[in-house]
Structure formats: structure tokens, C-alpha cells
Symmetry: D2
Subunit: 260 residues, 4 copies
């Protein structure tokens, strides 16, 4: 894990993917999400996000005091970056640099800056276990700015490689996803993969923040010390769920704030 | 014009468009061109140029001591950015910021940096007379970095607006294009628009550099003080022509060097 | 106009743009729209519409007994085909053939077929007055299948050229757009350009169908014999409006049916 | 194999990929290739090929009496369709239908028609062993026209599934690729994967055509009855090699002609 043994139980970051609209196409209620979280992962234009959307999203984040991260993905607008692409690492690295640079310029135009990197979708999943693509993403971040933390899945290959390169990692858990006993996510193709009830979600979030633990789908209690909780912004009840999570955390005396 | 009355007749910048390959598609002999010029306009990915091409081109420019400029275009890979797109100025501005930011990041990855901006193709032509798109491009540059000069056509609308905004402009002439008596380019659809003989091209370049003048297609001699001469990189004899121009300039005691 | 002097006041076609979702991006409530109209203009993939969306939309149209038209646009997903592109006519023609062919194959896969062509957005507007692009679109239709009618604005350049080529035209009016006294649409940038009240829309539709007339924004009554009425599918109240129009027409004894 | 036991040793089809230029980007010398082969695989626009290129290529093939096949690929222009994309089979199937339909329309516009289908690059390789993607491609062909043969690798999964569906397969071998003893291609990442000498290539082609055999990289002689030989069109010496192959075949009394 990228977090110290004695995790901080009094603060937590909430993050969500935003800036994923494209031209006429609107995706998610970014304004509502930005008002609920402390960090936003802003799409880089390859899987989603046009320049005007990216800038407007960064401006909204800046106005709300929310931290901006770059959210690069595979060049696959038709697949929303959710399809693994078996590409050359040097090309992947340059695609990631390109997207981070573009978001940096638009974030600055909006009066803020890119403070971390979180890869998107199939790229996020690939680098959890694919060492070559993982290193390609790390090379990109190290090249652009080695002080940018990488947000990632606890226990991932990219996390290990990142820390070996001296890059800070920020472990995150998912508010509404079920976990296997080994700490991996239950595949979306299996029943129970997504938590739908508000109470199940808030229970999982509170346990993650207050105990550094999660209850796996088979009942096993596993350690999962994280610095951030990811909320999905594109589900129908995303905004309601985000509000409930905030309410539960604040009620438990937890401060919601960015990790940077 | 953006140049002082007493132009410098002992030095000149030569610039050319590069970095316009895309994936499997190769365009131009960038290596040869880079060895012939002092500044290169590196494509930003919207009309041409993939991230790996952009980075490799910047690296080659850095190795050769050649200045890098960003070369943003309309989002039109199928048309190579040569088709006017009647787009909203705010969107155009953000598209330009996105591309400049992306090239900046890849240029830094290659050990160099973006030192100026030159819009591409139909965008270059549009902003010579379209005040709304011109201002959109200027807003982009002013937002990213107001110290970046804009390379442009002498007498253009964007040049006037740029200087009014405090942005430095670098006027350029074309080595192989014929001019009308009013200083505009002869349309490519008309005979004589492009100079094909080496002597016609070198004569035009020498007169531009040594006299600050060009002989229009009707024989009129017009003043055209410029700081840079644009060489085309995608014509069959581009490399030969570039070598002849260098040879002529050096023989006339002119130093070829960037304007920054 | 493409319609005979004695227009048919007992039947009318209602058409709407559909199939404009793309990957993760959903646009419009196609299912509801398809249940309200007699013809649907299915996007061809260049301004909107991915292959799976196109096929599913054609299948829904087939199931509802709704006629399918191809709806080609400029290659401009980022601009949703709403930005004029100043392109070569031969390229435009081939882009249109490509899109019609693709929709034909997916329509057949869905158990139906393409029965007419209606260009989209900026292309629709351009060919109303741009003879070169108009002829390019007509050349495409004539090449693919000269029996396919072209749906177009009454009084348009493309309409005149189409009829001169022997191509059938289907004139359409817009249910919710205001008209100038010369029969052109009031620009969206001017107040009153879009009719918002249900009664204004149904009044306009009934007058168009029953009288072959429309009341212009300045009160002038103008002749506008049309074979189809276009309903917008992407406005928030599109479905409500469509239902009200159907109800008004049926109440007036008008049968809603395709023109083919 | 898709060929009868008693293969025809007096005729052979030569095929090559063409129509892969895109906008300003030229790839391969299609005119020269078309004059050397009997069948051409015309790109469908997703991995390469714009509509004007596709049409012009079909017109050149028609003029030369060369058979046209559709050559659909993954939607990956940046990767030239050479990167595996882990996509949903229904989406893949519709992407293939879309591309075949588009090429059909442009082929008809050029006075010819699509007579077979050969998937491109990573898709071609994937369906050789990936049953789900293989079936998706077959579903597309069966939907568009079940009489269209599929050109494929001998011994491939897609070949078995195709024949099980009643689809004709046309087995092909590669003129300049080395084979493993199991009939698979030697990976391009290994030495000796590509035959460079003219004599090695012509020897392999003659043995394939006259004996129905190929000598694997380890010296094993394996049976490989094929109906077509694929020539690469994008290598520097493609045209020279094609001429040498034609010369060798004609000298051996073999007629070069399409399989349809």
C-alpha cells in the first residue's frame, strides 16, 4: 500500500471522474459532483472530453476549491476508453504526456493546475497488472513532473513500480464496488459487483475511512488503507449517493479534503 | 508590419512545418528539413501529428539546436487542417490552448520548449482576415503564455490584433509563393502561384532578406520586411530547395538563426 | 416547391433526427421519438452515430413501421456536424456515399432499408444556398440510388438542382421554428427563432398541413406546401411536443404516414 | 483448410491491401500493386482509408479487372488497426457491417462490387484464435451477404467457424513471411520472420502454388493448400517483389486470377 501503517482516520479525499462530455454530448452532472468531492479527475481528450469541456470543468473545480487531476485514457472515444488496447509502451507514454500537457494548459487557463494523475478505465485496469503499460504510464508522469502523485488501486503493479521509481501513490477504494477477499474488485459481470443501496455504500465508506478495512463479498474483512474514495459520477443516482456519503462522513467527524 | 523600419539584413530565420506524420503515415522528410532551418512549426495533433511523432520531432529539433514552435490547426485530420471550419471562437480558443499545452509537454519531454506559435493551414489563412477567429487564437496564446510570439502573414488582421494586445509578432514570407501587388499571396488555384525553379526561389529569398522587398507577380516591387522565411517541407524537392536557399544566404553573408 | 399545387391535406409525414448517440454518449430519447413520427433520419457516423446505435435505431424503426432515411453530415463529431466545412465537392460526395452505404448495410441488418436522404446540420444549411456542395450531395445520391428522394428546405438551391437532375424532393417545414417573410428560417441567434409553447407549435403544424401556409414572424402569411414536418428530438420537451402534434393532427382528421 | 484436397496447381490468386491512404497521407503505391495482383483488399475507413481514397482505389481495380474485397479493421486510425482492441462482439459485428456497407457503396460508385471480405491487421490476427471476435466478424458477413467468401489464415479458428456457418473461406499464405512448423506465422519480433530476398520469396510462392506446401523456419515441410497469396504493398520493394512473383508464376505456367 502507498499509505503509512497509521492511517489518518480524520480526513479523507473523495474523487470522481469529470470533464467527460464531448461536443454536443453531455455526460454526468459535473456541477453537482464537483460540489460533493475534494478532487476531480479531468478527462484528457482521448477517451472523452473536448478542450472547452476540460477548461469549463477545471474552472468549476477552481471555483469550488476542488483539486484537479489529469485523467488520461486510451485513444478510443467510441469505446470511452473502456477497451484494452494492446499498444506499444513508448506510444502509450507519449499519449499520456500529450493528454497531461493539454489538461495542464487548460487548467492553468482556468486558474488552477494539475496536481495528480489518475488513468482512466481500461488503462487504469491494465496498469494494475500489466507491467509494461504500467511503466509506460509512470515514465510519462516522471517525464512531465515527478512530483505529481499517481492515484491507483491498492496492491496494483503500477503502485509497486511507482513507489520503486520514487513517485508518490495515492491508494483509493471505490464507494460502490464490491471487493474479493484478495482485495481485487468483483468483476462487473458478476452479481453483487456494484453496491446499490445507500446504506451499503455509506457503511463501506465509513469502514474504509474509520477502520481502514473493507468487508469482501464473501464476508472476509480485509485491510485497505486508502487516502481517497472514488465516487462514480455517471450513474443515475450519483448525486444522491455523493450527498449521502458526505453526510455520513461529516457526521462521523471526518473532514473531506484533498490529499495534496 | 511587426518589424522595425531598419530591418536586420544580416540574419534571417528559416521555418518549416514538421511533425505532421500520424501513426503509420509519414509526411515530409523531417530529419532533412530540421537540418536546413532554424525554426520548426510542430503539429499539435488536431490537423496532423501523433504524440510520438511530436516528441520525436521535438527531440530532433533539440539535437539540431533548432527552435520549436507550436503549430495548432483545426480539428480536421481528414482534411489536414486545410478546410475552413466555421467554429465558435471560445471553442477555437480552447482547441488552440489544448494543442499548445500538449506540444509544450512533449517538447519538455524532448529537452526543449515551445518558443512561439504559428497556426496551420486554413486556420492560418482564416485569421489573416477573420477578426473573430483571429482574436480567439490570440486569446489562447495570451492565456498560455503572453511572451510567446505569433508567426504570421505581414499585413494580416491577426497581426494587427496581436500587436494591439501586446503580443510580439514575427512576420514571415514564403520562399516559393508568388505575391500580389497588395502583398497577399497569389491563390494556389491561379497559374504562377508557386515558384518552381531554384533560381526564382533563391532570388526571392535574397531580395526579401537583403532588401526587405518582394517582386509581385505583376512586376511591382513591394516592401515586405520579414523576420522569417517559410520553406515547405512536403514538396518533392523540399530538401534540395532548402539546401539551395541556405547556400545562397550564407554566400550573401547572412546568418540563419531563430528570431528568439 | 417539390410538391404539386393541390397538396394533400389529409396525410402528412412527421420526421425527426435519431441515431445520434455515440458510444457511451446518449443523445435524445429515440424510442419515444420513433413512436411519434412516421420517418426517421438516421445519423451516418460522421457527425454522430456509431454502428451499433445506427443498427439499433433502424431495428426500432423497423419494429414501429417507421420509414428510415440516411442522415449524412460533415466529418465533425466534435462539432456535431453543425459547423460549415469548406471542403472539396468530390470529397463531400464520397463522404456522403460512404455514409449512405454504411447506413444501408445496417438498415438491412435491422430488417429495413434506407428510403430517402436528409443531410444534417451545417451540411443541410449549406446546400440550401451553396450550389457546389449541393451538387456534390446530389451526385452522391444519384450515384447510390437515383430513386431515393431528398428531404430538403422548400425554396432551396439543392431542391432546384435535385429536380433538375430528376431526383424527387420532399419539402419539409419545422414544427417549432419561426419563418421570415421570404420563407427562410429565422436565425437561432435572434429572439423568437424557436417556438416554445405547445399551442404555437400545434397551430403552426395544423396551418402547414391543412392550409399549406405558415405565418411568418412579421405576420405575413406565406405559402409553404410541404410533405413532411420536422420535429426536434433533442430538446427537453421533444417527446411532449411530439405527442401534442400527433394529437392535434389526428383530431383534425389527418393521417400521419411516410411520404414513401 | 478451406480448399479441396486436390488443389488447383494451374491458377492462383494474388491479393494485397490497398486503399489505405487517408486525406493528405499516402500509403503504398496502389496503382503499381493493382497492376500486379488479381484481388485487392480495400480499407474500410476505420483503420485507414478515406471515402475518396476508397472510391478511387475501387475505380482503379475495376479498370484493371481486379477483384475488390472489403478490408474492415478496428476503429484505430492512430494504430493503423494493428493493435488488438478487446471490444464487445456485438459492437465489433456492427463496426464490420458499417465498413462493408460503406465500401460496397463506393465500389458500386466505381463500377465494381465487393466480392469478398478480409479483415485487417490485429483483427485478422485476433479472429485466427479468438472465437468470440471471430464469430462477431462472421455474423457481420452473414448478415450483409452470406455469399461473400472470407479470406483467412489456414487452420484459423475463424475459418473453422466460417465453414460451420456455411460461409466459403479462401485460405491464403504470405509470400514474404516465414512459417512455424505448426503452420502459424513466425512472429515479426523474431529474426527471420520476414523473407527479404527475391529468390526466397519466389521459391516460397512457387512451392505454395505448385506443391501446396511451405518449408517452415525449422526446415519442416508442411502442407498448406491455399487459394491466394498475399503480397505486402507497403514495403519499399513491394512493387519489385510483386513483379518477380508474377514473372516466376507465369514462367511456371500458372495463371494469376481471382478465386471468384
Amino acid at each position: 500500500m502507498g499509505t503509512p501503517v497509521g492511517i489518518d482516520r480524520t480526513t479523507i479525499d473523495l474523487n470522481s471522474d469529470v470533464g467527460e462530455s464531448f461536443g454536443m454530448y453531455t455526460l454526468g452532472d459535473d456541477a453537482a459532483i464537483i460540489s460533493s468531492v475534494s478532487s476531480v479527475n479531468v478527462a484528457g481528450g482521448f477517451h472523452a472530453g473536448d478542450p472547452s469541456t476540460i477548461r469549463a470543468t477545471c474552472a468549476a473545480a477552481a471555483a469550488a476549491g476542488v483539486t484537479v487531476g489529469a485523467h488520461p485514457g486510451y485513444r478510443d472515444l467510441a469505446g470511452f476508453g473502456r477497451r484494452f488496447i494492446d499498444m506499444e509502451p513508448a506510444e502509450l507514454s507519449n499519449d499520456v504526456i500529450y493528454q497531461i500537457g493539454a489538461v495542464q494548459a487548460l487548467a492553468r487557463a482556468a486558474g488552477t493546475s494539475v496536481r495528480y494523475v489518475k488513468p482512466h478505465g481500461a488503462l487504469y485496469n491494465a496498469i494494475a497488472h500489466h507491467p509494461v503499460q504500467a511503466q509506460a504510464v509512470l515514465d510519462a508522469i516522471l517525464t512531465v513532473d515527478p512530483t505529481l502523485p499517481l492515484m491507483t488501486l491498492p496492491g496494483s503493479e503500477v503502485g509497486r513500480l511507482a513507489r520503486a521509481s520514487g513517485l508518490r501513490t495515492v491508494a483509493e477504494a471505490f464507494a460502490d464496488r464490491a471487493y474479493n477477499a484478495d482485495g481485487s474488485l468483483v468483476s462487473r459481470t458478476r452479481p453483487g459487483a456494484v453496491l446499490h443501496s445507500v446504506s451499503a455504500v455509506t457503511d463501506q465508506v465509513l469502514r474504509l475511512v474509520l477502520e481502514g478495512q473493507v468487508v469482501a463479498i464473501d464476508g472476509t474483512v480485509i485491510d485497505m488503507p486508502v487516502e481517497s474514495i472514488c465516487l462514480h459520477g455517471d450513474t443515475p443516482d450519483a448525486v444522491t449517493l455523493a450527498a449521502a456519503i458526505r453526510f455520513a462522513l461529516v457526521g462521523a467527524g471526518v473532514t473531506i479534503q484533498s490529499f495534496v
